[in-house]
C-alpha cells in the first residue's frame, strides 16, 4: 500500500513537471527540432547533468534505497542497431505527435483527448514490434 502511494505520487509529480515545464507541448518539440529555442535542450541537458551526478554517486557509494536495499542499475542491452533503428522510428513519431510515451498519459489527463488515438496506436506499434522482433536486425 505504501509503495502504491509512492509510485502513484511520483507519477503525479512527473505529470505536473511535464505540463509546467512545457516538455509535453507539441510546440516546444517542434521548436526544438527547428533549433530555434534552448528551452528543451536546457531541460534535457540539466536533467542529464544532474542525473549523471546522482547515478555516479549511487554507484560509487553503493547507496541504499528508501527500503534499505542496494540500488541496482542494470546496464542497457548492447543492441546498437536496434537502438539506432528503433530510436529513429521513435524520433519520427515524436516529431509528428510531439509526444513521448510519458507525456501521452499526462496530456490525456490534461484533457487533450486526441492523444487517446496516439495511445491506442502506440500499443498496436508495441504489439507489432513483439510480433516482428525475431525478424528484425538488433
Amino acid at each position: 500500500m505504501k509503495r502504491t502511494i509512492l509510485y502513484f505520487s511520483i507519477g503525479i509529480l512527473f505529470g505536473i513537471i511535464m505540463i509546467k515545464s512545457e516538455a509535453a507541448s507539441w510546440f516546444r518539440i517542434y521548436e526544438m527540432f527547428q533549433f530555434k529555442s534552448f528551452h528543451m535542450y536546457g531541460i534535457i541537458g540539466a536533467a542529464v547533468a544532474l542525473g549523471v551526478v546522482i547515478t555516479q554517486l549511487i554507484k560509487r557509494n553503493n547507496m541504499r534505497s528508501f527500503f534499505g536495499t542496494e540500488i541496482q542499475i542494470a546496464p542497457k542491452p548492447k543492441h546498437i542497431k536496434a537502438s539506432l533503428y528503433g530510436g529513429s522510428i521513435f524520433g519520427l513519431g515524436w516529431a509528428l505527435t510531439g509526444a513521448c510515451p510519458g507525456p501521452i498519459y499526462v496530456l490525456i489527463g490534461a484533457g487533450y483527448l486526441p492523444l487517446l488515438v496516439v495511445f491506442v496506436f502506440a500499443l498496436l506499434g508495441t504489439y507489432c514490434y513483439g510480433l516482428l522482433k525475431p525478424r528484425l536486425p538488433h
Binding site: S21, R28, I43, A46, H79, A95, C100, G109
Partner: protein, 181 residues
C-alpha cells in the same frame, strides 16, 4: 502560475529520476506499453510479451499518476499563459495552417476535440502513435529510459538511441511535416 523555465524543469526531472532509483525502480515510461500488451494476453502467442507483467505494475501506477498530475497542472496550476515560441516558428506554423503557437499549450488543429472528426488528422495521430510504440520498444526505451536514465548512466546504447531520436525527429520535422500537416 506561469510556465517554468528550463532550469526549473530540468532539475525537477532529475528529482523524478532520483525518487525512482531510490524506490528500487528505473525511470522509463515506454515499458508500460509492453506491460499493457502482456496484461491483455499478448504473451500467449508472442514470447516477447510472456512473463509476469505484475512485476511492472509500479510503472502503470506511475503512468496513472502522470495522467492525474497532468489534470492537476492543467486545471489548477496554470493561468493559461504559455512560454514564448520563437517568432519564426510561429510564422512558419501559421503558414502551414497550425495556429496557437505562443498562445496555447497545444495546436487545436491537432489536439482539439474537433481533431477527432478530421480523417487526415486521425491518420497522422495514428501513424505517430504507431511509430512511437514500435520505435521505443525496438530501441529499448524512450526519452526517459534512454535520454535521461541511460545517458545519466553513461550507457553507450542510449547515446546511439538519442542520436536516432534526432535522426528521425529532424527528418520528420524538416522534410515530412511540411508536406503532411
Amino acid at each position: 502560475m506561469a510556465p517554468w523555465p528550463w532550469y526549473v524543469g530540468g532539475p525537477a526531472i532529475a528529482v523524478v529520476l532520483f525518487l525512482l532509483l531510490f524506490s528500487e525502480k528505473r525511470f522509463g515510461m515506454s515499458t508500460n506499453l509492453k506491460t499493457m500488451c502482456s496484461m491483455a494476453g499478448a504473451g500467449k502467442k508472442i514470447p516477447f510479451f510472456a512473463g509476469d507483467w505484475k512485476a511492472n505494475r509500479w510503472g502503470l501506477l506511475v503512468a496513472l499518476g502522470a495522467a492525474v498530475g497532468g489534470f492537476i497542472a492543467a486545471t489548477y496550476m496554470t493561468n493559461g499563459s504559455v512560454g514564448m515560441i520563437h517568432p519564426d516558428v510561429v510564422t512558419e506554423l501559421n503558414q502551414m495552417g497550425i495556429s496557437g503557437a505562443g498562445v496555447e499549450f497545444m495546436p487545436p488543429e491537432l489536439f482539439g476535440i474537433e481533431a477527432l472528426t478530421h480523417p487526415k488528422t486521425l491518420v497522422l495521430l495514428a501513424l505517430g502513435g504507431f511509430l512511437i510504440g514500435f520505435g521505443t520498444r525496438y530501441a529499448g526505451g524512450c526519452t526517459s529510459g534512454h535520454a535521461i536514465s541511460g545517458l545519466s548512466d553513461l550507457q553507450w546504447p542510449s547515446f546511439v538511441a538519442v542520436i536516432g531520436f534526432f535522426v528521425g525527429g529532424l527528418l520528420m520535422n524538416h522534410l515530412i511535416l511540411p508536406y503532411i500537416l
